[in-house]
């Protein structure tokens, strides 16, 4: 049961209800009313796109691109008769991020309704929901919801007795982070290795099986029925000028009450940590925090009053990303923390681009040697030049950026600590080694 928030909420309102995943419950709480309205009135597809664009909704998958604007990139159906698809990116794999899972498992019909309205807007004949392989339950719940919706005439041919046809298909990932990149996702959906495609061409021109395709995040699409029903103005009234609406903040790390919280854009990070998550655990002090998943740059404790919206976080030198805050307390060596992250990206690089394939590997090696006390005096400089060679926008996809940006933030925001660690080979004072704890675990395993 989501706690009552001191601000208006809508995203998680149904999540705490008993049997919230069932169609009956969803309908009792106004579910599919937005779809009915769109189809019966009927809205023109362009009208749906316009209201979503007007609302200022920015993608919740990490990049924060305008959802409505993305829809307008789909080719004019009068000039391009190809099949069109909507792909839902439910491959939620960014370390720290766990918000889409809540929606899929607790409110699947909310996502389905969003899918149908979005598909209607971009005239997609089918929706593919690509679910992270580890999310077995999300897959099962969504599939059951689709079956229920299909039986109720909400999916398939002639939805709600209108001429609107739309299929929704589930696809289960096989455990690769890179398949959460939109073009890697499409390759994987086509049954190929999840190697991102060079862009251009962009998915709207050449997507799934070469057809026009839009790829959206789960939470982005989940917002759509609310926007359609309550209007763009209502949505814009929440949040800041450049970042509208509520978003789901999944806070993890060294806090007393980690979890997924619905907050308005622009709320201060301190408020989330201290009021919602109960503050840094064990009465310790905050050392650093990630605003939105492991690929956003680590910020120092001093930046904790930064408002959580795209522009403010960007000005602070990081990214809002998926809004998944990771909190690090004073006992952690940041080189070790960054090494753990670098190891993740080294493992997940698809291997296509030289900078990423080898760059993630050397980030991993260099951070590892510093963390293990074998660092060299010029390693921080080498880390920085290596990371600058990887980002921004130097490779086919953004994984290279994701690996390089936190490293760059580390050497910039915590230069002294890194240099000292590399030079002396010792953990900073007061820190407890994560790696030593891991070694111990492995020795016992």
């Amino acid at each position: 049961m989501a706690p009552k928030m001191p601000w208006p909420t809508y995203l998680l309102d149904r999540v705490g209800l008993p049997d919230s995943h069932k169609l009956e419950v969803y309908r009792q709480h106004g579910g599919y009313a937005a779809l009915e309205d769109v189809l019966r009135k009927p809205w023109k597809p362009e009208e749906v796109t316009a209201v979503v664009k007007d609302s200022g909704l920015r993608g919740r998958g990490g990049a924060g691109f305008s959802t409505g604007l993305k829809w307008t990139f789909m080719p004019d159906p009068a000039k391009d008769g190809r099949r069109r698809y909507l792909a839902i990116n439910a491959d939620e794999s960014e370390p720290g991020t766990c918000k889409d899972r809540v929606l899929m498992e607790k409110d699947p019909h909310g996502l389905l309704e969003g899918c149908l309205i979005s598909a209607y807007a971009i005239r997609a004949e089918a929706v593919y929901i690509y679910v992270r392989g580890e999310y077995r339950k999300s897959l099962a719940v969504l599939q059951a919801a689709i079956d229920e919706a299909r039986a109720a005439g909400l999916v398939g041919k002639g939805i709600l007795g209108t001429s609107f046809d739309c299929e929704i298909w589930m696809h289960m990932g096989a455990g690769a982070y890179i398949c959460g990149e939109e073009t890697g996702l499409m390759e994987s959906l086509e049954g190929k290795r999840g190697h991102p495609r060079p862009k251009p061409p962009f998915p709207a021109g050449y997507g799934l099986w070469g057809q026009p395709t839009t790829v959206n995040n789960v939470e982005s699409i989940f917002n759509v029925p609310f926007i359609v029903q309550r209007g763009a103005e209502w949505f814009r009234s929440i949040g800041t000028k450049g970042s509208t609406g509520n978003f789901l903040c999944g806070i993890s790390g060294h806090v007393e009450r980690p979890g997924v919280y619905e907050v308005p854009m622009g709320i201060s990070a301190r408020q989330i940590v201290e009021e919602l998550a109960g503050g840094v655990w064990k009465g310790r002090k905050l050392k650093a925090w990630f605003p939105g998943g492991s690929s956003t740059g680590m910020l120092p404790a001093a930046a904790i009053d930064t408002p959580m919206d795209h522009d403010s976080i960007k000005n602070a030198g990081s990214m809002l990303g998926t809004g998944a805050m990771i909190v690090i307390d004073e006992t952690v060596s940041l080189v070790e923390a960054e090494y753990v992250i670098a190891r993740f990206y080294e493992h997940e690089s698809c291997g296509q681009c030289s900078q990423c394939r080898e760059g993630t590997q050397w980030l991993d090696q260099i951070l590892h040697r510093i963390a293990r006390g074998h660092g060299r005096v010029d390693d921080p400089a080498l880390l920085e030049s290596l990371a600058r060679g990887m980002a921004p926008a130097k490779t086919i996809c953004a994984l290279s950026d994701a690996a390089a940006i936190p490293t760059l933030a580390l050497v910039k925001n915590f230069a002294a600590e890194v240099q000292e660690h590399a030079t002396t080979g010792r953990l900073p004072a007061g820190c407890v080694s994560i790696l030593a704890a891991q070694d111990l675990q492995e020795a016992h395993a």
Binding site: I178, P200, Q355, T360, Q361, G389
Partner: protein, 928 residues
């Protein structure tokens, strides 16, 4: 982005600025190609013009004004007014960084590498002074066995691999073999096969493309490993000597060891665009085979014994002159060779006509495409491929009948695959389920020998549906009425019944072909090697004229020629009826011209074609001179051929190996391969291309043209040509269609396509534009005739024969390659699984195939490539020759045998039971 080949006039051009220079290129060109056209080389490691941009190496990153970040030049199309900077300090620093990362994973040193001197990584590392040790040094990680360990041709060394992905992409999208893939992720990623299977067990076609595109030497020729660094080898550009596609390839030659070390090809080469097939890439070992003939042999006391050139030539001179005196000039005959150069073919027919005085000269076209030459000459006025190879990619509907290009003409197959990738539709009419048939929109698997039923029904449907091109028929053609009248006897339903296919397929194919914009027909021996071969060809021509699908860019009738120079052998007049340039010797003006230059009277009696020579051997025909053809292996009904040849008074063979025919000869002269002489070949698309000497011939072997000059001298008429260029000049002076061609001009133009009537003519891309060669296209009323031999209770199956991908004709060349032998070393017979079950035959079991003429044993390849009523065998294996079985009945016009159709029976081996032969990979290939 694929190179645009369509008529440049039809493409819009874009003007942009690269490094301050204005560049104009066709719309859709990528920046990298645009820069290249302006002479600006943007560094790249994963770019190849033949594959879609990979964009992974990031070396080609450039600055584009207004763009966010750097732009990969390989994947970005040009836009009007674009401002591009390809090199500055920042870009150089960036490239150096990328190279240092590459070098950190490239765990090899240049000092021990074959590629040294031609390695792009090495070149760029030098250019940008990249430090290989900036990040540390990797020790080699992959020294164990991998999926290429057991393969004899390809070796993958992951320690040299920079994961550019070109080999994977080439294999997947150009060759479309899909044998290679990446496996694992990140820095553990290596190139492998699906499931890491042994390469021999995958769909790999051994085209060698992965080796040719590799920017380092991670994929390399196993047989060339440590056999010479690139910088030690000399590159000799020449023309492939296998099929008739005419691929340009580069022999990498070690002059000191007098060896071809390996073969490669460059993108952009005419016709093949740097692509080769397994024979082109790996099939050159025959050149240095220890089985080569190195000295003349003379039969003494029944056995062939070594002799000197003087002895051999003296014997030829005396015996042939004696026979000529006794039996007249027509008692002698010459068989020329589609494997030899134009110049040599010209000399053979000149010796026959001007020295001996007979038109008894022929070449192997009689066994294959003579019906094309005869049929298309009747219909259009000239018998050759009407379009060019590079036009194939612009074709919208490909109509293949009796052709299996991915195996028999692999590079034509590759161009067709390119057309398919560009959205072309494909109709395949073939009794076998070939690669093309599997990928076809419509596959009509008709019964062998029912082609005219099928074609007539299609054409009737086209007329009935109003799909015929009335305008074209009226303005460009003649004799339409009789043709249309004849079609009234053919209904789609009757054809469906006769062909054993669904009537709807016939209708759909007719519509698709007629409506293609444009459509083109491709055919090979499935059309010609029938007793009605010439009729078949004329009917194919009818179909094209009916729909107006000829005489246009990418649209026409295209016979794919079988041998490297079968087109040339015909062009050179190495056939009884025609002089060089398809001129008639009965024409007084022509005769006078030749008599003047040749200084000899033109013989006045009709000559014999090969099957007639064999039939007359020992009777009217007393002596036979064979250059470069193993007629025992290639003519139908082998036992009969051997019998006839044995009854000759005198048989001379000019050969590179002691073939089955040479074993019967009285004199054998050791000659040379394509790699040991200069000259020209004319490929299927009528392009005359140079053949260049790369190595010295073995022992006392001489170039065929030199031997022919010596033979002419021995026969009393010296021909003191200095070199092949001089021979070509004489030929060009005698034939208007080649008048503008000379060795010098061929070198300048990268080949010239005839007709090329004058020195300032650039050659002809496609024929019959606006006007047919003969004036008006002529329709022929063609009636269906069943094959001469139909299934009977004793021989209930139809046997058809053909070529495989890995081997070539009589096998004397291709089978010398260890790489090829590993893939396909023994004969097999394809049987449908239902038929096999009926006979109780298991896959891979050795069985007997019988016809009225003989029996052979072969391995059963059970699958679904053939119809249940048909079996199919390749003809490459002399020891179990399919031609023991084939039917020696002939096309009445051209004497082409019915190789494609005879009645046969199969049975289990009597005693041995189920002896299993061959490796698993054979079976996998045959049943795929």
């Amino acid at each position: 982005m694929e190179a645009a080949t369509r008529n440049p006039a039809t493409l819009d051009s874009v003007i942009l600025t690269i490094d301050g220079r204005q560049v104009s290129v066709p719309a859709g060109t990528d920046i990298l190609t645009a820069a290249k056209s302006a002479g600006i080389d943007i560094p790249h490691l994963c770019y190849d013009p033949r594959v879609e941009a990979i964009g992974a190496c990031r070396m080609c990153s450039v600055k584009v004004e207004g763009a966010r970040g750097l732009v990969a030049a390989c994947g970005q199309s040009v836009a009007p007014g674009m401002q591009v900077i390809t090199e500055d300090e920042e870009l150089a620093r960036r490239r150096k960084h990328v190279l240092e990362l590459f070098l950190s994973e490239h765990c090899a040193t240049c000092s021990g590498c074959d590629k040294s001197g031609a390695c792009r990584l090495q070149d760029y590392a030098y250019r940008y002074q990249a430090d290989p040790h900036r990040f540390g040094v990797y020790r080699p990680r992959y020294d164990g066995d991998n999926y290429t360990t057991l393969n004899k041709g390809i070796l993958y060394d992951a320690d040299k691999c920079i994961r550019c992905g070109l080999c994977v992409k080439y294999c997947e999208t150009v060759q479309m073999a899909e044998a290679l893939t990446f496996t694992w992720r990140a820095d553990r990623m290596v190139v492998s096969t699906p499931g890491d299977d042994d390469l021999n067990d995958t769909s790999c076609e051994l085209c060698g493309g992965c080796i040719r595109v590799c920017p380092t030497s991670a994929m390399l020729d196993k047989r060339a490993f440590h056999a010479g660094r690139n910088s030690d080898l000399q590159r000799v550009r020449t023309t492939c000597s296998y099929c008739g596609v005419g691929c340009q390839m580069d022999l990498m030659v070690d002059r000191q060891r007098n060896r071809i070390v390996r073969v490669t090809a460059e993108p952009g080469s005419p016709i093949n665009d740097g692509n080769l097939c397994v024979k082109g890439h790996f099939g050159f070992e025959f050149v240095s085979s220890p089985e080569r003939l190195t000295q003349p042999l003379i039969r003494r006391n029944g056995a062939l014994e070594p002799a000197t050139w003087d002895e051999a030539l003296a014997l030829i001179g005396s015996r042939m002159q004696e026979i000529r005196k006794q039996h007249g000039p027509d008692g002698l005959a010459f068989i020329s060779s589609a494997r030899c150069t134009n110049e040599e073919n010209y000399l053979v027919q000149k010796i026959a006509r001007a020295v001996v005085g007979t038109h008894n000269v022929d070449n192997c076209a009689t066994s294959c495409h003579a019906p094309t030459v005869a049929g298309l000459a009747e219909s259009f006025g000239s018998g050759a491929m009407t379009n060019s190879t590079t036009e194939i990619r612009d074709c919208k509907v490909l109509f293949l009948i009796g052709a299996n290009p991915t195996e028999a003409h692999p590079i034509f197959g590759l161009e067709m695959k390119r057309a398919l990738r560009r959205g072309a539709k494909l109709i395949v009419c073939d009794p076998r389920e070939t690669w093309m048939a599997k990928h076809a929109d419509i596959h009509i698997q008709h019964r062998s020998g029912s082609d005219n039923m099928l074609l007539n029904a299609m054409m009737r449907h086209i007329i009935d549906e109003g799909l015929a091109d009335r305008n074209f028929i009226e303005s460009r053609c003649e004799d339409y009425e009789a043709f249309a009248e004849n079609l009234k006897g053919y209904t789609v339903e009757a054809a469906a019944e006769c062909c054993g296919v669904d009537a709807e397929l016939i209708r759909a194919a007719a519509r698709m072909y007629a409506e293609g914009e444009p459509s083109a027909i491709y055919y090979t021996l499935g059309i010609t090697e029938h007793a009605c071969g010439t009729d078949n060809v004329k009917n194919v021509a009818n179909l094209a004229m009916l729909c107006g699908q000829i005489g246009k860019w990418a649209s026409g009738v295209n016979p794919l020629r079988g041998q490297n120079n079968v087109q040339g052998a015909c062009d050179m007049g190495a056939m009884p009826a025609k002089l060089p340039g398809y001129q008639r010797w009965s024409d007084a003006e022509v005769r006078a011209r030749f008599e003047a230059v040749w200084d000899a009277p033109m013989p006045q009696t009709e000559g014999l074609k090969i099957p007639m020579m064999i039939a007359a051997a020992g009777a009217e025909l007393r002596a036979l001179y064979v250059m470069g053809q193993d007629i025992v292996a290639t003519e139908p009904n082998q036992a009969e051929v051997i019998e006839r040849l044995k009854s000759l008074d005198f048989l001379v063979c000019q050969e590179i190996f002691l073939t089955e025919t040479a074993k019967l000869a009285h004199v054998v002269l050791p000659s040379t391969t394509f790699a040991e002489k200069d000259g020209t070949f004319t490929c299927s698309e009528r392009r005359v291309q140079l053949v260049r000497k790369a190595v010295e011939p073995p022992g006392e072997a001489k170039a065929d043209w030199e031997i022919l000059c010596l033979v002419a001298e021995a026969l009393g008429k010296p021909m003191p040509y200095r070199d092949p260029a001089e021979i070509y000049d004489e030929l060009a002076s005698l034939s208007p269609m080649f008048a503008g061609i000379s060795h010098r001009r061929i070198a300048e133009h990268g080949g010239l396509q005839w007709p090329c009537p004058s020195d300032d003519h650039a050659g002809t891309r496609f024929l019959h534009e606006g006007r047919f060669t003969r004036g008006k296209g002529r329709f022929h009323a063609i009636r269906h005739q069943p094959p001469r031999e139909e299934p009977t209770p004793e021989f209930p199956l139809i046997l058809s024969t053909g070529r495989t991908l890995y081997n070539y004709n009589c096998g004397s060349m291709s089978r010398k390659s260890a790489v090829i032998s590993q893939k396909e070393s023994a004969n097999f017979v394809e049987i449908h699984r239902d038929t096999a079950a009926r006979y109780g035959i298991a896959d891979d079991e050795k069985i007997v195939v019988r016809t009225a003429r003989g029996r052979v044993t072969a391995r059963a390849a059970v699958g679904e490539r053939v119809r249940p009523d048909t079996i199919w065998m390749p003809f490459h294996f002399a020891e179990e020759s399919a031609n023991v079985l084939t039917n020696d009945v002939f096309d009445p016009v051209t004497a082409t045998a019915e190789y494609k159709c005879c009645a046969a029976e199969i049975e289990k081996l009597p005693a041995a039971g189920t002896e299993r032969l061959g490796s698993k990979s054979h079976a996998a290939h045959a049943t795929r």
